[in-house]
Each structure stands twice: as C-alpha cells, then as structure tokens.
C-alpha cells in the first residue's frame, strides 16, 4: 500500500470562528511551528486539498458553503475540526444563529479542542487526521480493486 501520509495538503475554512483559531492555524505554518516539515501545505483550493480544517461553528449561511467545499475535495479526504467552536459550537452554541459544530453538515474525523486551539494541538490534530487519510486510501483502493475485478469477470462471462 502506498504511503500518502507524508503529503497532507490542508485547506482552511473559517466557519464562524472568532479568529482566535484561524490565526493559530496560520501560526502553525510560520517559522516557529513550521508545519511544512510534515509536508503540510496550506492550499486555498478544495480541488487540491486532502484535509479540510474547519474553525468556528456552523451557521445558516455557511452550512452550504462548508458542504460544497467538502464535496469539491477529491477522495480520500479528512476533516479536522479546530477549536471548541468547530467541535460543538463552543461559547456560541446557544446563539440563535449557530447550528453547532462542523459535524452538523459534514463528517468530522478529528476534533481539536481548545479556545483557541494551540498550534501544537492543531499539528497533533492533523497528524491524527493523516492516519485516517491513509486508512481511507486503503479502503478506497480495495473498493476500486473489487470493482475492476467485477468488471473483468463480467467481461469474461460475456
């Protein structure tokens, strides 16, 4: 099985966070934490992203956006919810315009708690996510292998 864990490209979407977590996500990339050591690249484009980092909770306006961005990513993909807002809604969960954490609209694989989540925590979260990323790939390839086998068999029968 090919090892794809060394190149996780992340895309960050700011749901309705207070910025605290956003800047900590950015801080991960800066010289002191340098996430690129692990091959992490911050890309703005869902087409090229492997890991979706969501900060902040989900509200009525951004729910379809988060969903769309997630759908645009190519499989296998992983979602990491950063900060308690993205996990549960955090302090804001009782606000009228907050539906809850990111898991309200997309399946979340890793929750990173903290308000704001510390850069180390975010790196840990991504690293956890990478493991899932690899599992996903294996599952995907297995499924594909089966499919092509079926096809071959179907071809033989004909």
């Amino acid at each position: 099985m090919y090892n794809i864990t060394r190149s996780p490209w992340v895309m960050h979407y700011d749901g309705s966070s207070c910025n605290g977590c956003d800047i900590e996500v950015l801080a991960c990339l800066t010289p002191v934490y340098d996430a690129e050591r692990f091959g992490i690249i911050n890309t703005g484009d869902p087409m090229q992203a492997d890991i979706l980092l969501v900060t902040g909770g989900i509200n009525t306006q951004n729910a379809p956006i988060v969903k769309q961005l997630y759908d645009q990513m190519s499989d296998p993909k992983v979602v990491v919810a950063v900060g308690v807002c993205a996990c549960t809604g955090g302090v804001f969960k009782d606000c009228y315009n907050i539906l809850g954490g990111a898991d309200q609209v997309i399946p979340v694989d890793v929750y990173v708690p903290g308000c704001a989540a510390r850069p180390q925590a975010i790196i840990d979260g991504i690293v956890k996510g990478i493991g899932i990323f690899q599992e996903r790939l294996e599952k995907l390839e297995k499924a594909e292998g089966q499919k092509s086998e079926e096809k071959e068999e179907a071809g033989k029968e004909e």
């Binding site: 010289p31 308690v84 955090g90 302090v91 903290g114 925590a121």
Partner: protein, 156 residues
Amino acid sequence: MGVMTFAGTALKNLFSKPVTTSYPAEPAEYKERTRGHIEIDIDQCISCGMCTRACPCGTLSIDKIKGTWTINRFDCIACGFCVEKCPKKCLTMVAGYQEPGGEKGEVTYTKSPEVLAEEARKREEMAKKAAEAKKAMEAKKAAEAAAAAAGEKKDN
C-alpha cells in the same frame, strides 16, 4: 527606494539556525500560567454547583447523589471562571492541552468510595436527623392536634 532590500536578511537567515521548535519530537514547553485544561481534585468537591453555574459554555455538570463531576473538554474554552468561582478551590487550571480525538466525549470524575461513603453517611445522618426532626415535628403537631382536639372536646 531599493531593489531586493530583503536579500541581505534572507541570506543571513539562510546561514542562521532556524527558529522552528522540534515539536512533536520534543514535548512542548508551557508557561506556568498557561491555560491548558481543568483538573479537579474530586474528593474536595462538595458538589455545590457553583462551577456549573459560572461556566459560560455550560460545559460542566454535577450529580450530587452519584458524586460525579463531568466536563466536556471539547466544549471548554479554558476561561478559568469555574476555577475562580469554586468555593473549595478544588479546581485548577493546568498547562497542557487536551489531546485531539475522534470522539468528543465527556469525562466524568467520580468521588472515591470512601468519600462517597462518607457523604452518603453524612447524607443519611442528615436524612436521619431530618427524619427525626420531622418525626418530632409530627409528634409535636400530633400532640398539638390532640391537645386542640381535647380542647375542643372540652369546649363542647
């Protein structure tokens, strides 16, 4: 105005040591005051509920009877208000953040059996006392009633 004014700095940087910390190979260092997560010395807790009421997120819950104190760490903003409010000072803010995880479960702390037993005993005692008091009260009432009835009878 200059062209490539940054070249000197960039070249200097190239030959100086990177400032990158080697986390996670080396564990992170935390400052003394760092607000990481809440720890509880559960046996000190008197289940008064001050913390649950103080928490701006509604993260905490207690169960007086079972002697539990529950926190959802994926909901806690580590503000420290509960720590400030706890009358017994049994809550502390500790450095080091909560590990990320795939599930956002709650953590429940239960008081040790001795303490529980002690509390239960106290409660029982209290209950007994209350019951006794009640009994006494009832007895008194009954006595009064009886007296009254007697009085009435007398009156009649």
